[in-house]
């Protein structure tokens, strides 16, 4: 409970901003590049395979001749859009970017770099953390869009190469009964997840006390806490918005 209170105080300290707008723009661009480069490769691989696996397994499960083939790609599309692209990517993102944020801030804390900023009269939390959070908010939805797209490609390749369905059937399935709101929902989810991952990881890293061992511990904690927060938020959002 106390930790949650401190977390909100921490969030508050971020928005009492002090440095010039231009400083932040430069920092945010730097962070966006870092976040993107850090995670794009693993996100691409994971989402492609998840799409492929979903397609193969759905095809395997639907054996009834009453159900038309195109349902497979319909299932792949809805599964990836609603759940797999935003949520699984979030877990991957927490492991990659979240631990990175936490480790970087933790190292800066124990090597007194954060104190050095404070002594200069710079609001270290907003200077270091705000650009990271904004960068994640900007980049993560893009990654989710990419993940959704690649998952469909993965599903397409798996379904057509194994001969489970024809390319035409797959395309037809993808377009059948399409609910646009699902895309909006996925993007809302991705913004919420991005905020949770970046702020929780920053929080655990920023308040690291001790040495290298504790920095490692803070990174691990950043990932586990983020994952718990992601899954709880996932459930809450589904309840609220669907």
């Amino acid at each position: 409970m106390q930790i949650i209170g401190r977390y909100f105080l921490f969030l508050h300290s971020l928005i009492i901003k002090r440095e010039s707008f231009n400083t932040y723009v430069r920092l945010i661009i730097d962070e966006c590049i870092k976040v993107g480069i850090n995670s794009i490769f693993i996100v691409a691989i994971v989402s492609t395979f998840i799409g492929a696996v979903t397609a193969v397994q759905t095809a395997y499960n639907i054996v009834s001749p009453l159900i038309p083939n195109y349902v497979v790609s319909l299932v792949v599309r809805d599964m990836t859009l609603l759940e797999l692209a935003p949520t699984i990517t979030a877990i991957v993102f927490a492991g990659k970017v979240g631990s990175n944020i936490s480790g970087e801030l933790g190292t800066m804390r124990i090597s007194e770099q954060i104190d050095a900023l404070e002594v200069m009269g710079i609001n270290s939390s907003s200077f270091l953390v705000l650009p990271k959070i904004i960068a994640c908010l900007l980049m993560y939805p893009l990654l989710v869009i990419l993940a959704g797209f690649l998952a469909l490609i993965g599903g397409y390749l798996a379904a057509t190469l194994t001969g489970a369905m024809t390319p035409d059937e797959f395309i037809y399935g993808i377009r059948a009964d399409f609910i646009e709101y699902n895309v909006t929902f996925a993007l809302i989810k991705s913004v919420v997840f991005a905020f949770l991952i970046s702020s929780i990881s920053a929080f655990t890293g920023y308040f690291t006390i001790g040495g290298a061992l504790e920095v490692g511990r803070a990174s691990t904690k950043a990932v586990t806490s983020s994952c718990i927060a992601i899954l709880s938020a996932d459930y809450l959002l589904a309840q609220l918005l669907l």
């Binding site: 440095e19 400083t23 190292t107 800066m108 090597s111 007194e112 770099q113 104190d115 050095a116 404070e118 002594v119 200069m120 009269g121 710079i122």
Partner: protein, 252 residues
């Protein structure tokens, strides 16, 4: 000039600082000494505002730091430079970017002028042709030099050094001590050095404040320290084998 009056600091109801007074003059190195765990770093952090003292005042040339308005505190902070124990250089920036960082963030100095200023202070601390090196590529002594350069680049009026020669070999340590002394005199800075190294005391201790378990037990200059009649101070001074040997020699 920096004055501290009756600084008290508790952590979880354990008193770490029991009311410390002191007066630190510009243009000379002022040393705060004492064995590990006596609260030197805590005192320093209270003075620069990284920690808030529970009681007491820190006065920077008639400006009461902890009782000032936010803007004034910011103003004072911009006049403070600090050398941290490990240098605390920003890992992701090279030497030049590290030194120019306070100028980038806190001033509107044009780019050319900044570069001139950075090169000037780097040269002053004895570093040339390392502008593009990363902190991980330079030695401990060089990191301290870069740390000093960064601390004074914005024409600081106050300089804090926490254990400036920890982790350095004795020769480099003395060189760094003298560098701090020279810079202090040359730019008339009010410098406070925290140390537990008797070598530093004998080299540059114009004013020495001795702390023991959160209390000030003695103050004076290096010339008086060897003959001071405070038991804890004598224990501290003569824990240094060399000084002890010299003393015993004299007694014989």
């Amino acid at each position: 000039m920096i004055e501290i009056k009756n600084i008290i600091k508790d952590f979880n109801n354990v008193r770490v600082l029991h009311g410390i007074d002191g007066k630190f003059l510009p243009g000379q190195p002022n040393l705060i000494i004492g064995s590990s765990g006596t609260g030197k770093t805590v005192l320093l952090k209270c003075m620069v505002g990284l920690l808030a003292p529970d009681e007491g005042d820190v006065v920077y040339d008639q400006r009461n730091f902890h009782k000032s308005k936010k803007d004034e505190i910011r103003e004072i902070r911009r006049e403070i430079g600090m050398l941290f124990q490990g240098g605390a250089l920003f890992d992701s920036k090279n030497v030049e970017q590290n030194v120019s960082f306070p100028l980038d963030l806190l001033t509107d100095t044009p780019r050319d002028e900044k570069l001139d200023r950075v090169n000037f202070v780097l040269k002053r601390v004895g570093l040339e042709n390392v502008n593009k090196k990363m902190p991980s590529e330079i030695s401990g002594g060089m990191k301290k030099r870069v740390g000093i350069a960064r601390a004074i680049v914005n024409n600081s009026r106050y300089l804090y050094c926490d254990e400036p020669n920890s982790g350095l070999d004795p020769l480099t340590a003395i060189v760094i001590d003298h560098l701090i002394e020279e810079i202090t005199e040359e730019f008339n800075i009010t410098t406070i050095v925290v140390t537990h190294d008797m070598n530093s005391v004998m080299e540059i201790g114009e004013y020495v404040l001795f702390m023991h378990q959160g209390r000030k037990l003695w103050e004076g200059s290096k010339n008086e320290i060897l003959t001071a009649d405070v038991k804890e101070l004598q224990d501290f001074v003569y824990s240094n084998k060399l000084l002890k040997a010299v003393r015993n020699e004299k007694h014989v």
